[in-house]
């Protein structure tokens, strides 16, 4: 190589990047796109399988009840609010909400999971009853596993917050955890529409 000369002194650049400037942010977006494609495949399978049946849900299975699942959905949606509060406060340098907000979110997510357990304990069909049962149990099971993972992951973030690990500069971990939380909450809406409302309307 020939001689070199400097046109840019990188030492003046910041050593922390946020949001779309950070590679980690893009990484989590990649994860979200992959997972969204997974859920989209499941929803497509739901409607594809439906075309095999004269009745949907199939004979002998009643159409889903709507009230309790809707309440559970509202609980899950609400869980995103404290998360948002924690995340946006940290941007302004306030660390206290990060110690409390995620705990509220975790509690709400656990309530959601408990409601799902109660609901599916006596739903009246199993995954091996018919194809409808297979696809509904898979969607709910897969999403619940996500909520559970979210709870565990956020518990770790909260532990770190209590040990004062995060601050205004070091907050990308909180941002991506929040992003993933919003994703798991928002993706539930089309899933909820599919397995409850679509089943309800298709059966009538």
């Amino acid at each position: 190589m020939n001689g070199t000369f400097s046109v840019l002194d990188a030492s003046k650049l910041p050593s922390h990047a946020f949001e779309h400037r950070s590679p980690l942010w893009w990484g989590i977006i990649g994860l979200i796109v992959i997972e969204a494609t997974v859920f989209a495949s499941l929803v497509a399978s739901f409607f594809y399988l439906r075309s095999n049946f004269p009745q949907w849900p199939p004979d002998g299975t009643r159409s889903p009840e709507l009230l309790k699942p809707t309440l559970a959905t509202l609980v899950l949606l609400a869980s995103a609010i404290p998360m948002y509060w924690a995340d946006s406060s940290l941007k302004q340098g306030k660390t206290f909400p990060l110690k409390v907000g995620p705990l509220i979110s975790i509690a709400l997510a656990l309530v959601f999971l408990a409601m799902k357990v109660v609901e599916y304990r006596d739903i009246g069909f199993r995954w091996d009853t018919h194809a409808y049962g297979s696809v509904v149990w898979t969607i709910v099971g897969f999403h619940s596993a996500h909520v559970l993972a979210l709870v565990l992951k956020t518990a770790v973030v909260t532990t770190l917050a209590w040990r004062n690990y995060f601050n205004r500069k070091r907050r990308i971990g909180v941002t991506v955890n929040g992003l993933y939380w919003y994703f798991v909450v928002i993706i539930w809406i089309p899933l909820y529409m599919t397995i409850y409302w679509a089943s309800y309307f298709l059966s009538n």
């Binding site: 990188a10 650049l13 399978s45 594809y48 095999n52 993972a149 992951k153």
Partner: protein, 637 residues
């Protein structure tokens, strides 16, 4: 660029010592399990990929031995089924995709002028997942329990009633597990390409190989998840009695839709990186800028999109509505347009030049010949009536080997000869390389061209033998003998690889006078890739550096920790410095934990739960910040 002061970048041996110390991978046996550098991981992907290529090739030779004479009893039917299934699984899942990713992981950061991938530990994790999955598949073959249902594993043949053994369980869980590796690599490559290009390398200056890897990665992100979903459904059908694909209740065709929604893009996932390799090689060996850069980029992107609209052409004989069949016939024919544009751009690039006919370019020219034949038979089978006639015959076998070997393996071998000096510091033997090319080229055509004819004669695929009076014996014997020639051709390259490690001519930084940044550093590259991150002013940075007396670079990136430069997505404007993680064993532990979850599912339902818990522990161990206090101190300074 902020300042244009001409400061001579001052270099010191102390600085280089520090960089080497910080970026070096730990030596020794236990150190091996902690490597995260992209050069290290990329090389592992490439070597493992070629090992699986050889294993898959041996399986193919066993099949050809069996088919050499009519009513042969060399292999029994069940073993033959296992072997052709494993041949497909090996070549598609364990060779083609991982090796393209391997080349990408090794070359892309060097081409971009950066020091590592965005997520080095994730990179290592992806490799271990791949290794574990591949080893598990071959374990099943050696135990005689490999799947025997084809690499596409159609139910109802693949369901618990018709395939009672563990083979399909291996298939369903290991394939799902394996795709994690591909997805991880895809996301990483996308982020690295988006955020770590050398300053000045705006999107419209990116090398075509980088574009092709970007398109491949996006295709993986959208194609692999449906495969994971459908193979999990198959596993659930088989283990807990779900009814996704049960005829009458579920629908076996759902599998075919989801599988080919992955399976067709899969072909382009393999093929698109090869297109990038071809462009790189043509630019270098004609020593002039490529013709139609924009058209080539647009064709790559168009191929990526159209590739998702073709899956139904694998299902013409399943009884689809006519409208659907017409639509997919049109879409399948449309893919010929971007492919054609690219071929003409390359021809125009070669036109009127006096290229150096070194081995890499020979493989590219071989690609033209073989791929055009494969493309022509592709246009034929894209139409429903013709496809119905030759469906499930050797015509198809001939067609897709022309497309896959011609379209991907030939450019890949060209790429191997082209980048080998960068990986090892030595050139491969040209004489042996040319001999290998001609043997492979002739052997390939003699092996696969007659299969078109056998297919038109009605010889079905996937049969372990055929009757003597059908009169296919002579041609099959000819094909089997030719396959030996093809094998010798490939073998010559592998011999060349080993011989040249010690005896090859030292390559120097840039043996081919190439244009892209990977040739602007030592061969093999130092652990930190570049002493200074170069600044890019055009599409062919090294050629531009040759013209100027001095090379513009970036200074001020810390040498006392793993640090690299993050730039903006469109214009590659410098934004920040990013600290990179060092060697660690956690990726291996996480891969094992996830592997226990998936692999254990074959034996008992409790293992996914165990895997979930173990993975959680491994992830916490992975991300838990070490030395909180020390990091806090660095913060305040």
């Amino acid at each position: 660029m902020t300042s244009h002061e001409r400061i001579q970048a001052i270099d010191s041996s102390e600085e280089i010592r520090l960089l080497t110390e910080v970026w070096r991978s730990p030596p020794g046996f236990f150190g091996w399990f902690t490597h995260v550098n992209q050069t290290s991981v990329g090389k592992r992907f490439i070597i493992t990929g070629f090992v699986f290529f050889i294993l898959g090739g041996v399986l193919a030779l066993l099949m050809r031995l069996q088919l050499a004479t009519p009513e042969n009893e060399f292999l029994n039917p069940d073993l033959y089924n296992q072997i052709f299934t494993m041949h497909g699984i090996t070549m598609m899942f364990l060779f083609a995709v991982p090796i393209m990713e391997g080349f990408a992981i090794y070359i892309i950061p060097l081409m971009l002028g950066t020091r590592d991938m965005s997520f080095p530990r994730l990179n290592a994790f992806g490799y271990y997942v791949y290794l574990i999955a591949g080893a598990a598949m071959y374990l099943s073959l050696f135990l005689g329990m490999a799947p025997a249902v084809g690499w596409f594993a159609y139910p109802p043949l693949a369901d618990a009633k018709h395939s009672p053994g563990m083979g399909v369980d291996f298939y369903a869980t290991v394939v799902t597990f394996m795709e994690i590796s591909a997805l991880v690599a895809a996301v990483e490559l996308i982020v690295t390409i988006f955020k770590q290009r050398a300053p000045g390398m705006s999107l419209n200056r990116m090398p075509l190989f980088v574009w092709s890897i970007l398109v491949m990665s996006f295709m993986i992100v959208f194609a692999m998840p449906p495969l994971m979903v459908t193979s999990i459904m198959l596993a659930l059908d088989r283990t807990v009695g779900a009814h996704f694909f049960t005829p009458g209740s579920g629908d076996p065709l759902l599998w075919q839709h989801l599988f080919w929604f992955f399976g067709h893009p899969e072909v382009y996932i393999i093929f698109v990186p090869a297109l990038g390799m071809i462009s790189s090689i043509i630019i270098t060996f004609t020593r002039r800028p490529i013709f139609g850069y924009t058209a080539l980029v647009l064709s790559l992107v168009a191929t990526g999109f159209i590739g998702f609209g073709l899956w139904v052409h694998h299902m013409y004989t399943t009884g689809l509505p006519h409208l659907a069949a017409n639509f997919f016939t049109a879409a399948s024919s449309m893919i010929a347009i971007p492919s054609g544009v690219q071929v003409f751009c390359w021809l125009a690039s070669l036109w009127g030049t006096r290229p150096r006919f070194a081995t890499p370019l020979l493989y590219v020219l071989g690609f033209f010949f073989i791929f055009v034949i494969g493309g022509l038979s592709g246009v034929m089978v894209a139409s429903v009536p013709f496809d119905t006639q030759v469906h499930d015959t050797y015509f198809l076998v001939a067609h897709f080997h022309y497309v896959l070997i011609g379209g991907a393996v030939f450019p890949l071998f060209g790429g191997l000869y082209y980048w080998y000096p960068k990986l090892t510091g030595r050139l491969m033997s040209e004489g042996l390389g040319k001999a290998s090319f001609w043997l492979t080229f002739i052997g390939f055509n003699l092996t696969f061209f007659p299969m078109h004819y056998l297919g038109l004669q009605g010889m079905p695929r996937r049969v372990y033998t055929y009757l003597e009076p059908l009169g296919w014996g002579d041609l099959n014997l000819f094909v089997s003998l030719s396959s030996g020639l093809l094998a010798v051709g490939f073998l010559a390259t592998f011999v060349n690889v080993f011989r040249s490690l010690k005896r090859g001519r030292p390559a120097g930084d840039n043996p081919w006078d190439a244009d892209s940044l990977e040739w602007g550093t030592a061969s093999p590259p130092p652990p930190y890739n570049f002493r200074y991150i170069p600044v890019v002013m055009g599409r062919y940075p090294l050629w531009e550096h040759l013209k100027n007396q001095e090379v513009p670079v970036v200074t001020g990136i810390r040498s006392d920790r793993r640090e690299l430069l993050v730039t903006s997505l469109l214009d590659a404007h410098p934004e920040s410095r990013s600290k990179m993680p060092g060697p660690t064993v956690w990726p291996l532990l996480l891969a094992l934990a996830v592997g226990i979850g998936f692999g254990g599912f074959i034996f008992h339902n409790i293992f996914p739960v165990v895997g979930f818990i173990l993975s959680f522990i491994a992830i916490v161990g992975w991300f838990w910040p070490r030395q909180l206090a020390r990091e806090a101190r660095e913060e305040s300074s």
